[in-house]
């Protein structure tokens, strides 16, 4: 046997959608995390309720790499339909745990096989007819635990944690795991080098959270009170978590809730409700994905022109619904930035970690209120729907920033002298009043493009141009208030720019290729982008879309003499970008020392 490989391996479970395999995968993930070992799960699932193939990748590295691995060390082959293809993905020397009934004729000889009669074991050992199919998945958890040496105590923790709200389910699941665990002990001897050993130093103080969960917690702590949404993968879970948290944290007994979460009839209505609520003074949001963003285009333009605060989450996925709606992408960034007709341009927050999903979701409401405009939070399926290891979120130390809102007292002090769209402070941000303000001068008429400083109707050319210039000034003020890019530099010649979930792959790639890094976290882009490019001979913009949308935005933000320094690295197959997709092009083009 070769040298042992400890805590550095990728497990891939190939199963059937809707069979309960996700629960088994999560138990395994939580058990390994409980051993102090960093985990990075990626769920690759179809647009389907039951029957189509699904894969769960559980990456384990001592450093805590969070990006998808492009290599499989241990395959759990549970789906006969994909078995032959799945086998090809295993690296030489890897392990294949498979259903004994699968044909092994003409299979590879460079991997270790553990053939387990899962179906027979399930039939013989699991008494409940109704639960057999689901619990059969737990048997493989037991086998994997046997192969890798996961202690029973960790498995118990994984099951208990997974079934926090269903303690009755704990024992039957543990029993099923035991079936697999015992089968491995009784029938196999270890033939492969892979092992898991408890460790310390990386996971302490960390938790496992999905980006959509994090965003829901952020919205809750940011004081959202009106949420309107329409179901769409991969965004739905954000609002579903909010509903669950609202029931727990925003209910006054059984009679009142300090939040309203409305399932609208479509995305048009969803964003319309949120804009209506924002206009009337509530902190309001909607959450959707690309096709929903398309439907929100008209209303987003109205909110931009009429200057109404609203927070819009876009959990990006691949385009139209028919095809790959359950695969990840970063291809909405260009669309969202200028969404709608006319001279619209929006504030866009670009969280790159789950911690930022929490923080940016929370702070988005401050930005929206402060700048009286739609604020988009651009996450994606990978970030939003997978569990990520993260430091515990910090309690907010700042109160809400409700922006420039005039109260009855303010209006009395001003003797009613105010104008909704007059720029008193020179920052482009004007004062507003809310319906219900008990002063005769409080009311004004809100409409889209045609209004003067006093919100009176006009189609006057000068008034329109003046207003557009002020809106540009407002955007410029906002640009400096949004999260600044994060730079990590050590005087390299080559730099790299990325945003969002690509961050994880960049962090890992930089262990191999020596490059400086600037992670942008908001649009419009910070001046720091041009400064970063000016400090480097060449800068690669890495992103998960076909046409290099951020690459285009970066070049537009540069003075002409810097434009040629920028190059583009793109990954767009629907799978989360692995580090290799950055290392390979950079190694080829730069011959940077590997």
């Amino acid at each position: 046997m070769t040298e042992p490989i400890v805590n550095d391996l990728t497990i891939q479970a190939a199963t059937v959608n809707g069979s309960g395999s996700q629960t088994a995968n999560l138990v395994l993930t939580r058990a390994i995390f409980h051993m102090g070992i960093p985990v990075a799960p990626k769920n690759v699932f179809p647009s389907n309720i039951e029957g189509l193939p699904t894969w769960y990748q559980l990456r384990i590295t001592p450093e805590g790499h969070m990006a998808r691995s492009d290599k499989v060390d241990i395959l759990v082959a549970f789906n006969v339909a994909t078995w032959r293809e799945d086998l090809k993905t295993v690296r030489p020397g890897g392990v294949v745990i498979h259903e004994e009934a699968f044909s092994t004729a003409d299979t590879r000889t460079d991997v270790t096989y553990y053939a387990v009669p899962f179906a027979k074991l399930a039939k013989a050992k699991i008494q409940s007819d109704t639960l057999r199919k689901q619990l059969a998945n737990m048997i493989y958890v037991g086998v994997v635990a046997g192969v890798l040496g996961i202690p029973w105590e960790a498995l118990e923790h994984g099951v208990r944690r997974q079934f926090l709200s269903k303690p009755k389910a704990v024992q039957v699941n543990l029993d099923a795991i035991k079936v697999g665990f015992d089968y491995w002990q009784d029938n196999f001897s270890k033939q492969d080098p892979y092992r898991l050993e408890p460790m310390t130093g990386v996971v302490e103080g960390k938790v496992l959270v999905e980006g959509n969960q994090a965003a829901a917690i952020g919205a809750l702590m940011g004081g959202v009170t009106v949420v309107a949404w329409y179901p769409i993968t991969p965004s739905s879970s954000l609002c579903e978590y909010l509903i669950a948290y609202a029931d727990r944290f925003r209910a006054n007994g059984d009679s009142e809730k300090r939040i309203s979460v409305v399932q609208a009839e479509d995305e048009l209505a969803a964003v319309g409700m949120a804009i209506g609520a924002g206009w009337a003074g509530a902190r309001a949001m909607t959450s959707t994905s690309g096709p929903g963003i398309s439907l929100m285009a008209e209303f987003s333009g109205l909110a931009y022109y009429a200057e109404v605060p609203v927070v819009i989450f876009d959990i990006q996925r691949i385009g139209p619904s028919t095809g790959l709606p359950t695969r990840t992408s970063q291809a909405d960034i260009g669309f969202v930035y200028t969404l709608s007709h006319g001279d619209t341009k929006h504030l866009v927050l670009l969280p790159g970690t789950v911690e930022e999903c929490y923080e940016f979701a929370r702070d988005a409401f401050d930005h929206a209120d402060r700048f009286q405009t739609p604020v988009f939070v651009l996450s994606d399926l990978d970030l939003g729907m997978n569990l990520w290891m993260t430091p515990e979120f910090k309690y907010p130390e700042k109160p809400f920033d409700r922006g420039k809102v005039l109260s009855k007292d303010d209006l009395e002090k001003l003797a009613g002298e105010w104008a909704r769209y007059r720029d008193i402070d020179g920052d482009g941000v004007t004062y507003r009043t809310l319906p219900g303000t008990d002063h005769v001068a409080a009311g004004y008429f809100t409409r889209g493009s045609g209004h003067d400083e006093n919100a009176r109707y006009t189609e006057g050319a000068d008034a329109y141009a003046r207003n557009m210039d002020r809106l540009a000034r407002k955007l410029e003020t906002a640009r400096h208030a949004l999260p600044a890019p994060v730079a990590d530099e050590s005087g390299q010649k080559v730099g790299l720019i990325a945003f969002g979930s690509t961050h994880a792959a960049v962090v890992e790639a930089r262990e191999t290729v020596k490059v400086d890094y600037l992670r942008v976290r908001a649009l419009p882009l910070s001046d720091e982008v041009a400064r970063f490019v000016s400090r480097h001979e060449r800068v690669y913009v890495v992103e998960q879309n076909r046409d290099g949308q951020l690459y285009d935005l970066v070049r537009l933000a540069l003075p002409p003499q810097l434009v040629d320094r920028v190059r583009s690295v793109r990954h767009y197959n629907g799978q989360p970008i692995p580090a290799a997709a950055i290392i390979e092009p950079l190694s080829q083009q730069e011959m940077v020392p590997a």
Binding site: V207, I217, N252, E256, V262, A277, A284, F400, F445, R456
Partner: protein
């Protein structure tokens, strides 16, 4: 000598708005005047009124009454969504939506129906002229089959009747009237505002420029000749005493949630406004006989409105702060520990 004031101490002028920019003689201008009268007599506090609208001639009119109130001229057909959101933010506001037949029955039909389905507490006035005015006279979806356009084109499609749709959906308040019939429109507006839930008021409002000719079923002369009121409507607000001086059996009295009364005086056949099937039948019979049936068609005073169903507190959500909305430091720490 002081000017006459209403029960909140405001003169009628406090309910006026900017000068209209619609055509002289437009039915919508009459409705604006009825609105001013109704709001003044009801004593609605202007700062608590939210005037909502979509796009079209009708949707411009909120600028022409109660200038000191907040108004929101939104996007085409989406007034219901804006209204729903604003109402959730502050359920103390009086939500008054103004829409048209294109805004409601074509581009906004989905939102119209879902507003009704939720029973959002608001008044929804349709200024219904069967035509697209601002875009110069195309048929709208409420135009009757066979009705003739100004230049002679004949409408070949069945109309969508907003009242029939509302009734089919179980809307809690459905009424129809005619812009030229102030005696009926004013009490219906008051009743719609006092009603708790979605109140649909379809007001036939002739377009003098594009749809007031022979062959149109939305012209002044056609409506005058074919209007058939099912009952005389009067409205007695909660702050006034009820005087009933009718013969027994000739009136129906509907008590609303806020203590106001709608008093309906029988005209021809007795119509029970709490019988939804009867309301549908009255509309269908009117249509078959070539009449425009007006009046209060249906009201359900018991149905829960949306904010009640949603458990929204009386204190506006917009006024809630960190202490109401954020987890405490201890709860947050406990919550985070559950993710370990």
């Amino acid at each position: 000598m002081s000017a006459t004031v209403n029960h909140v101490g405001l003169p009628r002028d406090a309910y006026k708005g900017a000068a209209t920019t619609l055509c002289a003689g437009c039915g919508h201008n009459s409705i604006t005047n009825h609105m001013i009268k109704a709001l003044y007599e009801l004593g609605v506090e202007p700062h608590m009124l939210a005037k909502m609208s979509g796009i079209g001639c009708s949707s411009k009119t909120p600028a022409y009454f109660v200038e000191s109130a907040h108004g929101f001229n939104g996007v085409h057909g989406r007034m219901p969504a804006l209204t729903t959101g604003a109402h959730l933010a502050n359920r103390q506001l009086i939500m008054l939506g103004v829409s048209g037949d294109g805004d409601t029955a074509s581009i906004g039909l989905g939102q119209f129906m879902h507003l009704i389905r939720r029973n959002v507490d608001c008044t929804y006035i349709i200024e219904d002229n069967g035509t697209y005015g601002l875009t110069k006279g195309q048929f709208s979806a409420t135009a009757d089959l066979g009705s003739v356009q100004k230049k002679g084109a004949v409408n070949t499609f069945q109309p969508i009747d907003p009242c029939a749709v509302a009734l089919a959906l179980g809307c809690s308040f459905v009424a129809r009237s005619f812009s030229g019939d102030g005696k009926q429109v004013v009490p219906l507006i008051k009743a719609a505002i006092a009603h708790r839930g979605t109140a649909i008021l379809d007001i036939i409002s002739p377009c003098v420029t594009f749809n007031d000719h022979d062959g149109s079923t939305k012209s002044y002369s056609w409506v005058k000749d074919h209007e058939e009121s099912i009952a005389d409507v009067s409205f007695i607000p909660f702050f006034e005493e009820v005087h009933v001086d009718y013969e027994p059996g000739t009136v129906r009295d509907v008590r609303l949630h806020d203590g106001s009364h709608i008093v309906l005086k029988k005209l021809g056949e007795d119509h029970d406004p709490t019988d939804r099937r009867a309301a549908i039948r009255v509309i269908e019979e009117g249509r078959a006989e070539g009449h425009l049936v007006t009046g209060l068609l249906y009201v359900d005073t018991e149905m829960n409105d949306f904010a009640t169903t949603e458990q929204i507190p009386a204190r506006p959500l917009k006024d809630m702060g960190e202490e109401d909305l954020r987890l405490s430091r201890e709860d947050f720490a406990q919550f985070m520990s559950e993710f370990a």
